[in-house]
């Protein structure tokens, strides 16, 4: 239930054991490599960039091959498959696959080449389509496109802009070349933009005809083939069939590798692991015969790792406390309940230097507040059951996913509890159904009270819970000050604030203002009132005088104190912020009852029941979704802003051990600590 204590481990060993030691460390996955040895004469680093990038290239190739396999013979994956996590592979199986890695890489290359060929063929097919399209207007032409004419006559084909009729073309032509007598302008076809022409004229007139045609916008097609359009089209179709057949053949060939999928995955992971190893190897200082490695290791693993390395590999191992200046990586260890909020915590920031691990306290508060916001027994039960089933069903799911589901499992239970307290079961579904379909209304009364009927009471309790939460945060700050033996800080920043706030609250409680809000009045004996005033005054004066104690100048000191005292408004807004517990709780209940009401629009009977079931399913699914989101976001906010604002800094660096970072499978190793 804390941040794990880290130690520095330094290993010096013979080079002949280098491979074995690195592989063992990687398999253990308990050391974050962090070299901090002084630069010394004779120690060199190996240049591993080249081999590392070639391993990475193989890994990427294998991944690309797998992607292609997925495209051509997709493996059916259910929606929940992403929860299943990585399968566990026996070490022997892994080793035997890796032995044949060269063959497998060859197969993967083949797949990639086949895919490339398919893509090329697809490009060719597209080109054929375009070619055919440009050919269509010429289809009626029954001579080759580049037919130049007979002995006496010349022929040209080409287009003029616009859809024109035979007469209008002749008219245009005659205007520009009235002297030409024998010319035949035949319209092959017309479309919106062009008129396609075949022109026949005497060879002697050819130049003049050409000039005249050019002046009305005649242009020859870009490509003139010495075949009839009909023949060209047949050629295109034949080629298309050939390409399609080739692609089908290639797809079949790729599909033949389907059964190798698992082995490709192992190969991809193998090269990734090796690339990681070479990255570390490149950082190690080495002399002629020995090499050094150092890094951080959690204290509890340190002795066993040190023993194993020195006994099995004759290495010199030194364990020491890390120095204060170093940035020590953070690894949290909690029981399964408190651990479930680690994801929420790390998205704010892991504990930094001097912070404590707030997971335990935070998990209790988180689950408590989340339940208050969602506050519907049926929703809570549903969320819990779904999360619980998923966790049981997929024991190998990823750590962070498992933690999130665990968190929602607990939050669901809390929601169930608060739902019973406030009498919410799918809103008011029991009342609505019994009234509409069975004629007499029954319902489960709230165990405590119904917030919608008494919002002021709920508001007061929301703020009370908020106040407790905030005081808890201030208390943790006090504990941290005591732990660090900063008694002055403890007194000035914690005790004085407690005095001031408790005093102010005690002054507020008996007033008419509070009585009118809470509809209950407090009557304190006189000494409590005096005590309250005294506490408030001591607190305020103390803060005014002591907050700026770091400054020597008395004027500045008072000004800083006054500024700190102004923080009382911050406390007010923090407490008011907890009114969202009421607002979100009401939102769940009210939307649920809107849904139920909509469902009963047709009244009782069969049709009414069908409508009700449909509306119920859609409406409540929507409501659960939107309110889960709301509760999640706003509980996070209350933790991050209001609670952490009192004591927590964050900003720690996560522990990234040197380990087998696989993508597809986990490899089962012997003797893992």
């Amino acid at each position: 239930m804390a941040v794990l204590k880290m130690q520095r481990i330094a290993v010096c060993a013979l080079k002949k054991n280098r491979k074995a030691i690195l592989e063992r460390l990687q398999a253990l996955g308990t050391v974050e490599v962090n070299i901090c040895l002084p630069e010394e004469e004779g120690l060199k680093k190996m240049d591993t960039a080249g081999s590392r990038s070639s391993f990475l290239k193989y890994a990427q190739m294998a991944e690309r091959g797998l992607e292609i396999l997925q495209i051509y013979c997709p493996k059916q994956q259910s929606m929940l498959a992403s929860l299943a996590g990585k399968p566990l592979v026996e070490k022997e199986e892994y080793d035997s696959v890796i032995k044949s890695r060269d063959n497998l890489i060859g197969d993967i290359k083949k797949i990639i080449d086949f895919d490339k060929e398919i893509a090329e063929n697809k490009g060719k097919l597209q080109k054929l389509d375009i070619q055919e399209e440009s050919l269509i207007p010429w289809m009626p032409l029954s001579v080759p496109m580049n037919y130049s004419g007979t002995m006496q006559t010349a022929m040209m084909v080409g287009t003029v802009p616009g859809a024109q009729s035979q007469e209008s073309i002749y008219e245009l032509f005659m205007k520009s070349a009235p002297e030409v007598e024998a010319v035949d302008l035949e319209i092959i076809s017309t479309d919106r933009d062009f008129t396609y022409l075949a022109v026949l004229c005497m060879k002697s007139d050819k130049i003049r005809v050409e000039n005249a045609l050019r002046s009305i916008g005649f242009a020859a097609p870009s490509q003139l083939l010495n075949k009839r359009p009909e023949e060209i089209r047949q050629g295109i179709q034949k080629e298309r069939e050939r390409l399609l057949a080739a692609n089908e053949e290639l797809t079949k060939k790729i599909a033949e590798f389907e059964k190798e999928r698992e082995r490709f995955q192992l190969v991809a992971d193998y090269f990734r692991i090796r690339a990681d190893k070479y990255e570390v190897l490149g950082q190690l200082p080495q002399s002629e015969h020995v090499f050094f490695i150092s890094g951080f290791i959690p204290e509890k693993y340190a002795p066993s790792v040190a023993e194993e390395l020195s006994e099995k590999y004759e290495a010199m191992v030194e364990i020491s406390e890390p120095s204060q200046e170093e940035e020590i990586p953070v690894l949290l260890e909690n029981n399964s309940f408190a651990g479930s909020v680690e994801g929420v915590l790390s998205s704010f920031g892991l504990p930094g230097r001097g912070d404590i691990d707030p997971s335990m306290i935070m998990s209790v508060c988180y689950v408590f507040l989340f339940g208050l916001m969602l506050s519907d027994a049926a929703y809570g039960l549903l969320v819990s059951v779904v999360c619980g089933v998923l966790i049981r069903r997929y024991p190998r799911m990823g750590q962070s996913m498992k933690k999130s589901l665990q968190l929602f499992f607990w939050c669901g239970l809390s929601t169930l509890f608060w739902g019973i307290m406030f009498g919410g079961y799918f809103g008011d579904v029991i009342n609505v159904v019994s009234r509409t379909f069975f004629g007499h209304e029954v319902g489960i009364p709230a165990a405590w009270f119904v917030p919608l009927n008494d919002p002021m009471k709920m508001l007061i309790f929301s703020m009370l819970f908020g106040l407790i939460h905030l005081f808890l945060g201030l208390g943790i700050k006090g504990y941290m000050c005591l732990r660090d033996r900063q008694y002055m800080d403890f007194f000035c920043d914690v005790v004085l604030w407690f005095c001031l706030l408790v005093g102010l609250i005690l002054i507020l409680l008996p007033t008419d203002l509070f009585a009118s809000i809470a509809q209950t009045s407090f009557l304190f004996p006189g000494w409590v009132n005096t005590l309250a005033k005294a506490l408030a005054i001591v607190g305020a004066v103390g803060i005014l005088l002591m907050s700026g104690r770091s400054s020597k100048n008395p004027g500045v000191r008072i000004a800083l104190g006054a500024y700190d005292l102004y923080n009382i408004t911050g406390w007010l807004s923090d407490v008011l912020s907890y009114s969202r517990l009421l607002a979100l709780g009401l939102a769940t209940g009210v939307i649920a009852s809107v849904v139920n009401q909509m469902g009963t629009m047709l009244g009782g009977g069969i049709a009414g029941a069908i409508l009700f079931i449909v509306v119920f399913l859609i409406g409540h699914t929507f409501n659960i979704g939107i309110n889960l989101l709301g509760a999640y976001v706003h509980t996070c906010r209350l933790q991050y802003v209001e609670f952490f604002g009192k004591f927590y800094e964050g900003g720690g660096k996560a522990f990234h051990p040197f380990k087998e970072n696989t993508k597809y499978v986990d490899i089962k190793e012997e003797n893992i600590l």
Binding site: V344, F348, L582, A583, V590, Q597, I626, C636
Partner: protein, 156 residues
């Protein structure tokens, strides 16, 4: 104009104004979210969560509208006698969530769009990205609170 019209006008204003704001906010955030997903579809879930944040104002408006409708009996089918004074009171009680919902949802939308930018560049900072739009929402919640307390507190 009798009181019931004013009361109904209040319910309508709460739903219309805050709904308009949310529609705008979710729309703006959705445009940013689409941009991110077009580059990296794996961020879909994260940006979707942020996109939905400005949608809550519309729900708050619905909540107040629903409370008002059930108070004046429109939902139950037995419309209550509402005096002009009470109707005006209910109308005014509905205004905070309507007006604040409209404006805060618009601003929350642009903030959410910016937060989606954080997720695009640094997905591990999702927790912080979610927080900025949530800050804007505080004021909608305060307005909702005033509206709820006022609507439920007005005697019929």
């Amino acid at each position: 104009m009798s009181g019931i019209v004013w009361a109904l006008l209040g319910a309508a204003a709460a739903a219309i104004l805050s709904g308009m704001g949310s529609a705008y906010g979710v729309g703006v955030a959705g445009q940013a979210a689409s941009g991110v997903v077009s580059e990296d579809p794996s961020k879909f879930a994260k940006v979707l969560i942020i996109q939905l944040l400005p949608g809550t104002q519309g729900i708050y408006g619905l909540l107040v509208a629903f409370l008002t409708l059930s108070k004046i009996g429109v939902l139950g089918g037995q419309i209550a006698e509402v005096s002009l004074a009470t109707g005006l009171l209910i109308f005014v009680a509905c205004l905070p969530i309507g007006v604040v919902g409209l404006i805060s949802a618009r601003h929350q939308g642009t903030t959410a769009a910016a937060a989606i930018g954080i997720v695009a560049k640094k997905p591990e900072q999702f927790g912080k990205a979610m927080l900025f739009p949530a800050m804007v929402e505080t004021y909608a919640i305060l307005a909702l609170l005033v509206s709820i307390l006022a609507v439920t507190g007005i005697p019929m």
